[in-house]
Symmetry: C2
DNA sequence: GCGAATCTTGTCAATGATGACAATTTACGT
DNA sequence: ACGTAAATTGTCATCATTGACAAGATTCGC
């Protein structure tokens, strides 16, 4: 061997810079020159370490998805409905910068089947985890999954609306509603009428 | 005067073509040449009738927002919770092609304050209308607005998830949940405990 | 037919982003 | 110190997209 390889670290720097650019200008809006500038390197180095633009985009997508999948591996596993809804609302949909990047991912996923499938798998897993927690709490119940779906969809919609500057008059009330969705017994009666 | 002006009709054709392109390739992904091809006109005509690219984008945004605002002017005004939730779920978040264009609008809104404000106004109005319907149904209630918020956010999240291919096991159960959100009395008890 | 406003065609230069690559420098093992 | 693999610099041609415009054709009122 000769000179030691520092490629992996450089790649990380570059991807971090790329992510910052994406948060600021979006995928379509950031050029290799933008990334290079953000990373404090000449453009040719970015090309050298990360390949062409498509490679760079794919690398960042991988990084983001791996991070997302990792996040759910630290899932509490079980807990009170309080814990669950706090986890969903506060931890997953909290950081605004992250949310912007996530929306960028969604936008890409509109026209990328593989990415869409991978995003779907993550959200499905979240829903399943929430449903499993509910089942842990009480008896297993076939409708748990649909109520988990509702709770996550509500959190998702709330996060999007928050970004528009639309917030509920009382966030606590949304929490109460979310908690209620995660509580097995409060719906059963009404549901059976349908 | 001399030759009659046909600019307005041409503009409509061009914007329709642009909208089709946006649904297929997104705002950032469609070029003037794409629009011209879709409209069956040379690119120079597109430029002549609609101006530069920014003009074209703004014109389409206006068209889309006006259409959205118009849609809520046909709002039933009042009705049973059934009517409400059917309106929200089936009519607003139904058509997939429209949804894609809406997601494109959202994506633009990430970095366009004016557009974001205008989108926010539309969704706020939807929430207010739903809340007003609920107040019509029974007594006015301060929490109606927050439950309307929840119902719309849930519908929004459901629409997004549907696009990912994530659907609840039983759509009817989501409808039941949505109905419950729109029902004044089912939450009050739990809420006061908090 | 004629003038005038409008439409239509076609071409051009400027811009900006990308991919490619040659030439040079660095840092390590021996 | 020397060879070698890796890193670094800088430049170039290519391509797509946009904006601009000159020249011509159309359609109306008169």
């Amino acid at each position: 061997m000769a000179r030691p390889r520092i490629g992996q670290e450089r790649r990380e720097e570059i991807l971090a810079a790329f992510e910052a650019c994406v948060a600021r200008k979006g995928f379509a809006g950031t050029t290799l020159t933008d990334v290079a500038q953000e990373a404090g390197q000449p453009r040719s180095l970015v090309r050298y370490f990360i390949g062409n633009r498509a490679d760079m985009v794919n690398a960042l997508i991988d990084r983001l998805l791996l991070r997302g999948e990792e996040q759910f591996r630290q899932w509490p596993g079980h807990g009170t409905p309080e814990d669950m809804h706090r986890f969903v609302l506060d931890r997953i949909f909290a950081d605004q910068t992250t949310n912007i990047v996530i929306m960028e991912l969604w936008h890409l996923a509109l026209r990328d089947d593989a990415l869409r499938a991978r995003l779907a798998a993550i959200y499905k897993q979240v829903i399943l985890e929430v449903a499993a927690m509910m089942a842990d709490e009480n008896d297993p119940h076939p409708e748990a999954q649909d109520r988990a779906f509702s709770a996550v969809a509500l959190a998702f919609g709330t996060a999007f609306f928050r970004y528009l500057g639309i917030a509920p008059a009382s966030p606590d009330r949304i929490r109460a509603i979310s908690r209620q969705l995660l509580d097995q017994h409060s719906l059963s009666a009404q549901e059976l009428e349908t």
